[in-house]
């Protein structure tokens, strides 16, 4: 489909323009980053409107990338940047925007370096949007690595108490991933003597040694982004120390890039030499999932519980992406759409509770009894996250789990066990926070979420319920 306006470059450019505006915004003791916040929210909402227009232009039933754009970059070597979008990428971009928007609202009262946070968040959004629209290996590689820069700055500035050790781990793991993907990209380019479209990577005929090396490199580079053992530790350690919802959300979007990488690169018919590694990867995935779900259940930190919930589902989506069928891809997109919004909502509310608890120096047990508005929304998000029919996660997860059970029933049951453990952990926390017995007079000073935030969150909940009725309700 061709249009007069380059929509894809527009959605990458808008957050970047937002960065420029946010940089020039006045930031003193009076404004305290409010200007930068307003500019950032405006940029994200504008981008969401453009995305809505793109959704209207897309042909949902068509396969392959649409609204493609191409820019020649270098003559020698000949490299051009190609962009394209399909309904799967669109859903992920919208969900990431929505999650970041929720995070921005959650972090709007951040007093220190609020402007820097907004600037780097917008920059991250710009890069991740580029990553999801990249249609060739070079642009994919560039955006894959470029998003680490704002992330590095965000973790460095807002990474909590252990940010130095976390940063070093972040650097080691991601450097490893970057090097491997760089080699894979260069080898593929040299072999074909041209830039390769993403969906053609699996069609490149390599000799056996190179095939093992290239796919192994791609394996490791994407795995370095996903909390799969032994790569899980940097994200898990940062997730427990964070006190800023926007930083938490952005950090936990990183595994999505790994999962997306697998989905885009991974051949549906796995080359014979790789089938052995596939089994190993699946085993590692399942073990990691169980491991993180079990630790999430005993960990008292709610941030860790959200992290374990996100990780378990990321791994399930990854396992589903390995299934030898293209038809589940759309279901992964629908499920991920709600999943990211739910995780964002949970994080913002848990952060609000944590702040109240810290400022009043009280225990968190029963804190929700003193904040009825937050309690209602939080209950909704927890029930949606455990798989109740309140979002698109319900039906689409049914399809994904059915396919996993069909592929390997033992693996399917282990996946279901992990889901149950992580759901039990979330429910356990919900009822601890709502426990009326703990609701003593010391909770009287607790502030509920504002009416404005309540209405925004109610709208988000309503949009999630609409995704349950029709996952693409927003497509006219």
């Amino acid at each position: 489909m061709t249009t007069s306006l380059n929509f894809l470059s527009t959605i990458i450019a808008i957050p970047f323009i937002g960065v420029l505006f946010a940089l020039t915004a006045k930031d003193d003791d009076k404004t305290r980053g409010r200007n930068a916040f307003n500019v950032s929210v405006l940029a994200v909402i504008t981008n969401l409107l453009v995305l809505w227009r793109i959704a209207a232009l897309l042909d949902i039933s068509a396969s392959g990338l649409q609204l493609t754009e191409r820019y020649d970059w270098l003559e020698n070597p000949k490299i051009s940047i190609s962009l394209g979008i399909d309904i799967f990428s669109l859903l992920l971009i919208v969900a990431v925007h929505a999650a970041v928007l929720i995070g921005m609202f959650g972090a709007r009262h951040n007093k220190e370096d609020g402007k820097a946070l907004m600037v780097f968040s917008l920059l991250f959004l710009c890069m991740i949007t580029g990553f999801f629209t990249a249609a060739d290996i070079f642009s994919f590689y560039i955006f894959f690595e470029a998003m680490l820069l704002p992330l590095f700055m965000i973790i460095g500035m807002f990474g909590g108490l252990r940010k130095q050790s976390v940063l070093s781990r972040f650097f080691i793991y991601n450097l490893l991933g970057a090097i491997f993907l760089f080699f894979a990209t260069v080898i593929l380019y040299n072999y074909q003597a041209a830039n390769i479209a993403l969906n053609d990577v699996s069609k490149v005929n390599l000799n056996m040694k190179l095939e093992i090396f290239v796919w192994g490199a791609i394996f490791i580079s994407f795995l370095s982004r996903i909390p799969i053992w032994p790569f899980h530790y940097w994200i898990s350690s940062i997730s427990t120390g964070l006190r800023n919802p926007l930083v938490f959300i952005i950090t936990n979007l990183v595994p999505l890039t790994g999962v997306y990488g697998f989905i885009r690169f991974w051949p549906k018919t796995v080359p014979g030499v790789l089938s052995y590694f596939m089994i190993i990867l699946e085993i590692i995935c399942v073990i990691s999932m169980l491991f993180i779900a079990l630790i999430g259940m005993i960990n008292k930190d709610f941030q860790y519980k959200i992290f374990s919930f996100m990780t378990v589902w990321y791994i399930i989506y990854l396992l589903a992406a390995f299934l030898p069928t293209d038809t589940v891809l759309q279901n992964i997109g629908y499920a991920l759409f709600s999943f990211l919004i739910i995780a964002g909502g949970l994080e913002v509310l848990s952060n609000h509770m944590e702040k109240q608890q810290e400022s009043l120096d009280i225990s968190s047990g029963g804190i929700l009894c003193a904040m009825p508005r937050a309690s209602r929304i939080f209950t909704f998000f927890v029930l949606a996250s455990v798989g109740m029919p309140l979002s698109s996660m319900f039906l689409n997860n049914f399809i994904l789990i059915a396919n996993l059970l069909d592929k390997n029933i033992r693996m399917g049951f282990l996946v279901i066990f992990a889901i149950m453990v992580v759901a039990a952990g979330l429910l356990q926390e919900l009822y601890r926070l709502k426990d009326t017995e703990c609701s003593l007079p010391d909770k009287s000073g607790v502030a509920d979420i504002s009416y404005k935030a309540y209405i925004i969150l109610l709208i988000i909940c309503a949009s999630l319920v609409l995704t349950f009725i029709n996952p693409l309700w927003f497509v006219v």
């Binding site: 259940m297 005993i298 798989g387 049914f398 069909d406 149950m420 009725i469």
Partner: protein
């Protein structure tokens, strides 16, 4: 007709939830009651006329799955919907007029939505509609529970049940390629898992209907107000369990020993319910154990065929509901005294309630004796005998024998308002009108029951009310905590300590950090140290160079 009912229930239920906080909630609740009663009349009319009407629409039209929502009208569906509509209307009635209920319109709105989902379950022809309605009902039921511990238990148990249902339907869908409930009949081919899926289905049903070993969620409802116990017991999860069994019965027919499983679990639950209702002091607990007996009977009855249970279900549900309502009215009449040990000798001030129980027992005996021929005589009469023994014992303790009531209770003791009793009597009257006059045999059994009641042969069992350990015992919960939950938690802690902390944090990350620090220190000293260090650095480079040359030349 049914489709219209479904959509209007949804609309009215949602409207009631939105208006839940307004001032005139009692009036609105009353209007809601009238609305349900009106629908009851229409559905009864549709059933009498044998109305047949087809209605279905595409809900999801994806490449992988086509989900239709079926809301067809047939006399069979109308009969079951009518029964549930009447029970829901009565629940709304008691919610509206029960003083202890503080959120009348909200609970009534939830009950209306719940009824819409029950209609959807009854009409479902595919398991996506069934699964969705069951899960939505769980959320609604969770919102009706207003006690945190009950909520917690209900949520955990039902999460397990819903995941079981989710898994079994996912498995069947992928293996048969269809979501139609009719495929269950043929689900016993090589490579399929009929035993596994049946096991999951039974687990789910047992949890929902409070069958023994899975009854933790159901019995924890005792801390709710009586009207909510009534509403949940007869309009929500437990009835869903039985409806699920009726809907998926063809799957179970392929399994050997299914009859034995139904009867053994049903029998064990019946005995458990009987013992619980006799031993426990709290009247709410007793009410729940009676409900457990009712569902145990239905489960056992399913061993003899789903069709007969389909016909029996409305009557048994009505009877169970009425008995539960009588316990609720007893508590209201005794100024909310919940402990049986503080009652006794109330026959004179509460004669209307006593008469109600006697009337109920007569109808109960008649209904069961009529149905015994249809089902299995031993099972039906066994159930009747066990339930009547428990009922006689409790009736003796409340209405006869020596009074243990305190002055407050005695001072305010009076019959419940006629308005509260009237619906129960009307139901009893309608049942008698439907089934006809009791035969001589029924009268003899009933007289024996009354005599048993007055004699109170089990009166010595009243001593168990003093045992605090017994009254507060929660053996099954403790057992599951020890056998299931604690090991999972210990495993999680061990994994965290061993792998995250010891291996990754203290071994890999620490050694990487120490290694890189050492390397940096060595290189730093070589760079900035003495001439000796510089010479060493140069020698290392030369050595490396020589090694490369050597490898090139001799390879």
């Amino acid at each position: 007709m049914i489709a219209k009912l479904f959509f209007t229930l949804l609309a009215v239920g949602l409207a009631a939830e939105v208006l839940a906080k307004v001032r005139f909630e009692k009036i609105l609740s009353f209007l809601l009651l009238c609305f349900l009663a009106l629908w009851g009349v229409w559905i009864f009319e549709a059933e009498s006329l044998g109305l047949v009407d087809k209605f279905s629409f595409h809900w999801i039209d994806a490449s992988l799955m086509l989900v239709n929502i079926n809301l067809n009208t047939t006399p069979d569906i109308c009969r079951l919907v009518f029964a549930l509509l009447v029970i829901s209307t009565l629940s709304v009635f008691y919610n509206t007029f029960y003083k202890a209920e503080t959120e009348k319109l909200r609970v009534n709105g939830l009950l209306t939505l719940n009824l819409a989902m029950l209609v959807s379950i009854i009409c479902s022809q595919n398991f996506m509609q069934l699964l969705t309605a069951v899960c939505i009902m769980d959320v609604i039921c969770l919102l009706m529970i207003n006690d945190i511990e009950s909520k917690r238990r209900y949520a955990f148990y039902n999460l397990l049940a819903d995941m079981g249902l989710f898994t079994l339907f996912a498995l069947i869908w992928k293996q048969t390629g269809s979501i139609d409930l009719s495929v269950l009949e043929k689900y016993h081919r090589p490579g399929q898992y009929p035993e596994l899926t049946s096991g999951l289905l039974l687990l789910c049903v047992f949890i929902k209907s409070g069958i023994v070993l899975c009854h933790g969620g159901f019995l924890s409802l005792a801390s709710l107000t009586f009207n909510r116990i009534l509403a949940i017991s007869y309009c929500s999860a437990p009835i869903v369990g039985i409806l699920l069994l009726v809907k998926t019965y063809p799957l179970l027919e392929n399994i050997r020993y299914m009859k034995e499983i139904f009867l053994s679990f049903g029998g064990a639950t019946l005995l458990w319910g009987c013992v619980g209702s006799i031993v426990l002091d709290n009247i709410k607990d007793k009410a729940l154990y009676f409900n457990q007996m009712i569902y145990a009977f239905l489960l056992g009855a399913l061993a003899f065929g789903a069709k007969d249970v389909d016909a029996l279900l409305p009557l048994v549900l009505f009877l169970g509901f009425v008995l539960n309502a009588v316990w609720m009215l007893t508590a209201i009449s005794t100024s909310n005294e919940l402990f049986i040990s503080n009652m006794g000798g109330f026959i004179r001030p509460l004669k209307l309630l006593f008469v109600s129980i006697m009337l109920w027992s007569l109808i109960f005996v008649e209904v069961l004796s009529l149905r015994a021929t249809m089902l299995n005589g031993v099972w039906t009469y066994g159930f009747a005998a066990i339930l009547l023994v428990a009922l006689a014992h409790i009736s003796f303790q409340i209405f006869l024998g020596k009074s243990n009531a305190d002055e407050r209770v005695l001072a305010f003791l009076k019959n419940p308002p006629l308005l509260n009793l009237l619906p129960l009597w009307i139901i009893c009257g309608i049942i008698i009108w439907q089934i006809g006059k009791p035969s001589m045999q029924i009268w003899i059994i009933w007289v024996a029951f009354v005599a048993f009641c007055f004699a109170g042969p089990l009166r010595t069992l009243g001593k168990v009310y003093d045992s605090e350990n017994l009254q507060e015992a929660d053996w099954l919960h403790d057992f599951y905590q020890t056998v299931l939950v604690a090991p999972i938690k210990i495993l999680g802690r061990v994994l965290w300590l061993l792998i995250d902390f010891l291996i990754i944090e203290r071994t890999i990350v620490s050694s990487l950090t120490s290694g890189s620090n050492l390397l940096v220190r060595v290189l730093d000293r070589m760079h900035t140290g003495s001439a000796f260090s510089n010479a060493g650095y140069v020698a290392l480079g030369l050595g490396l160079f020589a090694a490369i040359i050597y490898a090139k030349v001799y390879n």
